[in-house]
């Protein structure tokens, strides 16, 4: 079973039922904290939709999908008087390193459903579409069962809890495409099309989304915060985390740590050092090895290095330092890691998952993969490092976000990158390239000029 939860004495908002075995059933949900079940929904229904919206705005619930945009502000972007409005729940978790929405959907589906219903009440949604990643069969089963129970208990559907408020939640599965996690691609997919992103503007979902009607796309974790928020209020919510990033976040800590797991941390105050070395979280780099580098927020994020470990997991601070907290996926790499091989694997991911709509991404990511492959295979050419950076520059022009390198006298380039593409997928492929070349150029050069073997990753499965 996955290690989950928060450090002792730290808050639990969304992960409070992770270790409760039957929390996925309505009885289990009722018995473990949510008085009578769906107490947050009852609290919301006792207020006006505007009051619920104000509470969410006041709490500054930042989107937990990756972009970190405040949910309440997003909701407020729906143009007045334009109906219907739809809610689409983004459960298409696919960013490499990210493993938190799946835990929320498998272990606490009622918390998510309750969050969906609260959001639908506040926004005035005609329907909610819950888009779950296709590969997550267990999450689909858990949510389907929970929805059936919630409908039976009059918590979803017609005249919810005897009020004039009615909304359906339709469970919808994806079918294997990373790009569908991008909100406009998600909407295309939900309309029955190939999942290719739409141009913004004009297709900002809050104005022109599903069926070109106002649509709010929210991440699973974002909505899972709402029941607690309705029960405890914005003031209590803001007691956790920092002023700019209130509340908590689920962080998936993976790679070369002794204790990988999904941890709920106060947002903005916990540092990467806490996460890696605290016994409540990572409990140190595995087997006495040393930290070489880490990905601070999903495969799309530029890498950090030992100099950056004291940075807190806070959007603005990490952004200024050249990367992003993104989807809360932290991947730790020790000194046995081959920077070129790790770089190639992430680039290959973006090359495979490019939807092909924009030329710089479709062609560029394939070239990046090809060049990196031949460098790794000992077939690299002296011009290959420049060629890589040149291809990268066509996808994301100008200085690309990167961490500071004090020893070399290089300063950080702040996030986000520029892009010649519709969505950020292509520019994300540049992150590992510029990060690895800036810091470990000698590893690339050694492979090219000396055909030299560089430390190879430890083989064999993890324990």
């Amino acid at each position: 079973m996955t290690t989950t939860g928060a450090a002792p004495g730290t808050p639990l908002i969304v992960s409070s039922r992770f270790e409760v075995l039957d929390a996925h059933t309505l009885d289990g949900y009722k018995a473990s904290g949510s008085y009578e079940g769906y107490a947050g929904l009852r609290a919301a229904l006792a207020r006006s939709p505007q009051q619920v919206l104000d509470e969410v705005k006041d709490a500054t619930v930042l989107g937990r999908g990756g972009a970190g945009f405040p949910a309440g502000t997003k909701w407020g972007f729906c143009p007045p008087g334009v109906w219907p409005r739809y809610i689409v729940v983004n459960g298409d978790e696919s960013e490499p390193g990210t493993y938190k929405d799946r835990v929320l959907m498998e272990r606490d589906p009622h918390q998510l459903i309750e969050g969906c219903v609260i959001a639908a009440y506040a926004i005035g949604a005609a329907q909610v579409f819950l888009y779950v990643r296709g590969e997550m069969a267990h999450a689909q089963e858990r949510i389907a069962a929970a929805l059936n129970e919630a409908y039976d208990a009059n918590l979803v559907g017609r005249n919810i809890l005897g009020t004039d408020f009615s909304v359906d939640i339709v469970l919808h599965w994806g079918a294997g495409a990373y790009i569908v996690g991008e909100e406009t691609a998600l909407i295309e997919s939900l309309e029955g099309n190939r999942g290719m992103p739409r141009l913004k503007p004009p297709f900002f979902p809050a104005a022109k989304g599903l069926y070109l009607k106002p649509t709010i796309v929210n991440n699973v974790e974002t909505l899972s915060n709402l029941p607690w928020l309705m029960n405890n209020g914005a003031t209590a919510f803001k007691e956790f985390g920092s002023d700019a990033s209130p509340g908590t976040r689920l962080i998936a800590l993976s790679g070369h740590v002794n204790r990988p797991g999904v941890y709920e941390i106060p947002q903005g105050t916990t540092t990467y050092r806490d996460l890696f070395y605290d016994d409540a979280y990572g409990a140190g780099i595995r087997d006495g090895h040393e930290l070489k580098m880490f990905i601070p927020g999903g495969a799309s994020a530029p890498w950090f290095f030992p100099e950056q470990v004291d940075i807190p997991l806070e959007g603005r601070v990490v952004g200024a330092a050249g990367s992003m907290v993104g989807s809360g996926a932290v991947v730790v790499m020790d000194e046995t890691t081959d920077a070129v091989r790790a770089c190639l694997r992430i680039v290959r991911f973006f090359a495979r998952e490019s939807c092909g709509k924009c030329t710089p991404c479709r062609e560029g990511t394939s070239w990046e993969e090809m060049i990196l492959r031949r460098i790794l295979d000992g077939q690299g050419r002296p011009s290959d490092i420049d060629a890589l950076l040149d291809v990268a520059d066509n996808i994301s022009p100008g200085p690309y976000p990167v961490a500071a390198h004090p020893e070399a006298g290089l300063e950080a380039v702040p996030f986000p990158p520029r892009q010649t593409t519709i969505c950020p997928l292509g520019p994300s492929s540049v992150a590992p390239i510029t990060s690895a070349i800036r810091r470990y150029r000698h590893e690339f050069e050694a492979k090219i000029t000396k055909r030299e073997s560089i430390p190879v990753m430890a083989a064999g499965a993890g324990g």
């Binding site: 006006s48 493993y99 005035g124 005609a126 329907q127 999942g195 993890g462």
Partner: protein, 214 residues
């Protein structure tokens, strides 16, 4: 193979009715067809096109974008090994190579007995449980080479009841028939929801703001 059976056609019609526009049911119906046949057959796509009101080419156009839809029969068990970064760091690529040796096939192909298809996949959201793989989208966490061999043996001997044949995802269906659905109004005909209207009216009469940003 194969159009929907009468039972599945009825279920397909129920699924179509959940969406404001029928075409939105394309992907769910492709999953249903794959559950019925183990893959997405041409005749099934024709039937889906009839049910959602598009051409068969449009169904194919959508389905061919998504990796999970297989247009030819594959093994009864699809084993997908993750080699993305978190798994790579802990032996995911070595696990894939081991799987190739154990099954005697290269990634992307099917064993002669039609039991196993092997693929290397992108991140499956089991990063803290690396290296990970799935069998017909059922997770296997922290898989050692011995664990993998045991898994293959078990599947061969039919000892893994929790893994249905390829094509079946969730075995629990959402019950959302016409008797239960609250709102299937097409987007054009949809007006301001009644509870928003009521709160606006109440707010006007009491002089405070209400109405969900409307």
């Amino acid at each position: 193979m194969s159009r929907f059976t009468p039972e599945n056609e009825q279920l397909a019609r129920e699924i179509v009715a959940r969406y404001p526009r029928p075409k939105s049911a394309t992907i769910p119906l492709c999953h249903l067809a794959q559950e019925q046949d183990g893959y997405l057959a041409d005749d099934a796509m024709t039937h889906i096109a009839e049910l959602v009101g598009v051409t068969p080419a449009e169904v194919l156009g959508t389905a061919s974008f998504y990796e999970m839809f297989k247009r030819k029969p594959i093994g009864k068990y699809l084993i997908t090994v993750c080699t993305n970064i978190s798994c790579q760091l802990l032996g995911g690529e070595e696990l894939l190579e081991h799987a190739e040796r154990t099954l005697g096939i290269s990634s992307g192909s099917t064993t002669d007995d039609g039991l196993f298809t092997l693929e290397d996949v992108e991140c499956i959201a089991a990063c803290t449980e690396a290296p990970a793989c799935q069998v017909n989208y059922r997770y296997q966490h922290r898989v050692s080479h011995d664990d993998f061999d045991q898994l293959v043996d078990d599947l061969r001997e039919g000892r893994r009841d929790e893994v249905p044949a390829h094509g079946t995802l969730a075995r629990v269906r959402q019950q959302l028939g016409a008797d239960r659905i609250a709102n299937i109004t097409p987007p054009e005909a949809q007006d301001q929801p009644v509870w928003i209207t009521r709160h606006e009216r109440e707010a006007q009469s009491s002089g405070t703001a209400a109405g969900g940003g409307s």
